[in-house]
């Protein structure tokens, strides 16, 4: 019963994941609409509108640049919002965790299932954007499908910190801090809309610590075929965030629910 012991997720995590899929399937129409609607708007509005003035960026069309970045940022927001609002709803007002903890499952299993689900939702959004981008003709070829496992990894990476926020939150307004102070700055600074080497030098160093920077590097390279000198570094950063995020979230939720 030690709060800090290393988590051990078991098969029960998949039952939690399946539960969430089952709920998602009931609301599939608005969910899919959302998956396609928002990125399409970004790509058409910014990609064509702004792209008309920008022309090329980093040696590719602005539409291609934007599409390959939006895949990563959308995976981030999808996973983060699921990990905050939906996880908090199940953990606190809806008491779903209390019900699940009356079975052999433990907090370790529940959060592993939630994390897999957050990443799965990121994949749904990634597939939608990839499809739109392919229709607009900015995808390099079938090799771009490799972006799907990467999007899953991005989802895992952002699920952990979001669940930490859920464990710390006392109401939904708390999530505004994380959104305004973490999510939005990453969205703006990490290379989704422009290459990070146009940032001031100190800033360039800083954004190297932000996971979205590495996520965008990976997705851009896979979707458009851009150069990627250090793929393992980027994957490593994402996985590090995922593992640490999961561990801290498990400890905090154990503490929150054991009283």
């Amino acid at each position: 019963m030690n709060l800090w012991r290393i988590p051990t997720a078991r098969a029960g995590a998949l039952a939690v994941w399946r539960r969430n899929i089952l709920v998602w399937r009931k609301l599939i129409v608005p969910a899919v609409l959302m998956n396609f609607g928002e990125p399409t708007l970004y790509l058409l509005g910014l990609g064509f509108g702004l792209g008309h003035f920008v022309g090329e960026m980093s040696g590719m069309s602005y539409l291609a640049f934007l599409a390959s970045g939006i895949i990563a940022s959308s995976a981030m927001t999808t996973s983060s919002f699921e990990g905050m609002y939906s996880v908090f709803t199940r953990m606190v007002p809806q008491k779903t965790y209390e019900a699940i903890l009356a079975t052999p499952l433990e907090v370790d299993d529940i959060l592993a299932g939630e994390m897999l689900w957050c990443a799965t939702k990121s994949v749904f959004s990634g597939i939608a954007i990839l499809a739109v981008a392919a229709m607009l003709g900015v995808v390099q070829g079938w090799g771009a499908l490799w972006v799907i496992p990467v999007v899953f990894m991005i989802g895992l990476c952002f699920a952990g910190p979001a669940m930490i926020m859920s464990a710390l939150a006392y109401n939904y307004d708390f999530f505004n801090y994380y959104t305004v102070l973490i999510i939005t700055p990453m969205f703006i600074l990490c290379g989704v809309f422009y290459p990070i080497d146009t940032l001031p030098l100190a800033m360039q160093g800083f954004v190297q610590f932000l996971p979205l920077t590495h996520a965008v590097m990976l997705t851009r390279s896979l979707v458009v075929g851009a150069d990627l000198p250090q793929p393992l570094l980027h994957i490593g950063v994402l996985m590090l965030y995922a593992v640490i995020g999961y561990y801290v979230a498990v400890v905090l939720v154990r503490r929150k629910l054991r009283v």
């Binding site: 019963m1 098969a11 029960g12 039952a15 939690v16 399946r18 539960r19 089952l22 709920v23 009931k26 809806q94 008491k95 779903t96 209390e98 019900a99 699940i100 903890l101 009356a102 079975t103 052999p104 499952l105 433990e106 629910l257 054991r258 009283v259």
Partner: protein
């Protein structure tokens, strides 16, 4: 630990056993050195006012919160290190319904079965019989938020039985239900007991405790005040009969207070006269004007109020 190797008869081995069980939170002691044994096939009740430590004791037994001291074993396993193994064999009915509002009645049972590792095929026949048990077969496709309070409670109990548990733990199973719904729950719980399940319930309804429980443990402020069957507790702590006198004026009450052979307890304008020989007092009361009175056998509520006092607990 040597708990599993105790030299006791198999049939007599307690399902739950605690010695010196203690739980401290930052600012208070919720459970303070509690000893008890719960034997198989019986209905065991924890009764006590709010904050007595009942729910905390249950949560420790289910491995959901660690002990601060003492020992606690369930099915012979130390509770704090064996939560998952224990909960696999227990059905837990929480204080407040926590059904999944995203699902229908039937889906609630199916999804819950999956948390116990039951496949869809293994769960299907259990779901049918539990829907029947809970009288919810014709509401199987209803969303849970469209169910009445009594139906939700029945579904919560059915859900707790999906793993065919040996022990069913119920935390205030009928709080907030109307009398009809409450009687249905009591009937279902009696049925479970007849099927050989061990029941452990907490309640602050003495009628419920008296009706369902073979053995009771009265708790207050984390300690055990007494333990025994409802009959034993009544015999031990109160006279067999009581006359409740309700009166507008204090004068009449004072006159009565002089009557011999009664132990008196006052609560507002009501006087409780506990006695073995009620005849004399009844004769006096019949002649008195402006008094209403009720003569009845004593019950567990009298014991409870005697042991835990009549002050408000908030």
């Amino acid at each position: 630990m040597s708990m599993t190797a105790q030299p006791v008869l198999t049939s007599n081995k307690p399902v739950i056993s605690s010695r010196g069980l203690t739980k401290r939170f930052a600012s208070r002691v919720a459970v303070n050195g509690v000893d008890f044994d719960i034997f198989p096939g019986r209905c065991f009740g924890f009764v006590g006012p709010n904050g007595a430590g009942k729910t905390t004791t249950l949560r420790m037994a289910m491995g959901l919160t660690p002990l601060s001291g003492g020992t606690l074993s369930v099915f012979g396993l130390p509770a704090s290190e064996n939560g998952p193994a224990i909960r696999a064999r227990v059905g837990i009915v929480p204080q407040a319904d926590n059904l999944d509002p995203d699902f229908t009645v039937e889906e609630n049972l199916r999804v819950y079965a999956s948390f116990f590792g039951l496949s869809r095929r293994q769960a299907a026949p259990r779901i049918e019989s539990l829907l029947k048990f809970a009288s919810l077969t014709d509401r199987r496709r209803a969303r849970t938020d469209t169910l009445s309070g009594g139906m939700q409670r029945r579904l919560t109990i059915a859900r707790a039985l999906i793993n065919d548990p040996e022990l069913v733990v119920l935390d205030e199973p009928t709080t907030g239900l109307d009398p009809q719904a409450r009687h249905v729950i009591w009937e279902r719980l009696t049925e479970l007991k007849m099927r050989g399940k061990t029941l452990l319930l907490t309640t602050h309804y003495m009628e419920e405790a008296e009706r369902l429980c073979d053995e009771l443990l009265i708790m207050d402020e984390g300690r055990i005040l007494d333990q025994g069957s409802p009959r034993q507790l009544i015999e031990r702590h109160v006279e067999p009969e009581v006359i409740e006198v309700r009166s507008g004026g204090g004068e009449a009450l004072e006159r009565l207070a002089g009557t011999a052979g009664c132990r008196l307890e006052r609560m507002g304008t009501c006087l409780y006269c506990y006695t073995r020989e009620p005849a004399q007092l009844i004769a006096v009361l019949k002649d008195a004007h402006g008094l209403t009175f009720l003569h009845r056998p004593t019950n567990l509520e009298d014991v409870f109020l005697r042991l835990t006092g009549r002050e408000l607990r908030d």
